[in-house]
């Protein structure tokens, strides 16, 4: 198993770097197909932007850590922040698209998007913060 780790300061202007690194790692052989790379870029942006926002101000010197794990069949990226943690199951669902009250909500789409875009996502406490683990299946390697 191969691991590529990126550490960034907890600042939103580093998200473009994160997208780039994660998508480049996921494009290594056997690459994720282009449409799954798009899913990954967006899911990582959402999780990493949450991580940066949750990071404790007094831990600003400590990095947000993005670790990509390349397995034979799976691509996994773990995003580790130093924030207060949260309960993803306790988040209120947004009103239906046809409900006029839908327009009252400008936020709250991140976690739902991550769930739709990845094959699996877990949220767990880890070393003074939260670890969000997102997994996408890799295509089978061509036979030799």
């Amino acid at each position: 198993m191969v691991e590529i780790v990126l550490e960034i300061p907890p600042r939103l202007d580093y998200l473009a770097v994160v997208r780039l690194v994660v998508a480049t790692a996921a494009a290594l052989d056997p690459p994720l197909p282009e449409s799954r790379l798009d899913d990954l870029r967006l899911a990582v942006t959402e999780a990493c932007s949450n991580a940066i926002k949750a990071h404790r101000p007094d831990a600003a010197d400590e990095p947000v850590v993005i670790a990509c794990h390349l397995d034979d069949d799976l691509f996994r990226v773990d995003i580790h922040d130093r924030g207060p943690g949260f309960d993803p199951d306790a988040l209120a669902a947004l009103p239906e698209a046809t409900d006029p009250r839908r327009l009252q909500h400008e936020s709250g789409l991140g976690i739902p998007l991550i769930k739709v875009l990845t094959d699996e996502v877990t949220f767990r406490p880890g070393e003074g913060g939260t670890v969000v683990s997102m997994t996408l299946k890799r295509p089978p390697a061509p036979p030799i």
Partner: protein
Amino acid sequence: MELEITDTEHEGWTVVSASGEVDVASAPALRTRLDELLEAGATRMVIDLEDVAFIDSTGLGVLVGALRRGRSANGDVRLVCTNPRILKVFEATGLHEVFAIGATFDETVASEG
């Protein structure tokens, strides 16, 4: 990739064209521009996303906020978008049922809204 925003008037609509990546880092600039336009009375707005390569949930939220303000002033905010990568994000969030989205300016302003 920076986000660039331009606007122009066309057949009674304010057409706002965004180009680049609309993410949590760049979306505030889009929000500010849309707020200025709405404030100045541009409540009938077409936002052209044809040159947008990436949009995240914060970018979507800015569009939802503009739509709410436009509609509450008896206007509307409609979208032009044909890029499947961007359309997919609207579909993944159900927002394709919230916005009128057309392939061209003519198509989006002709739609029921």
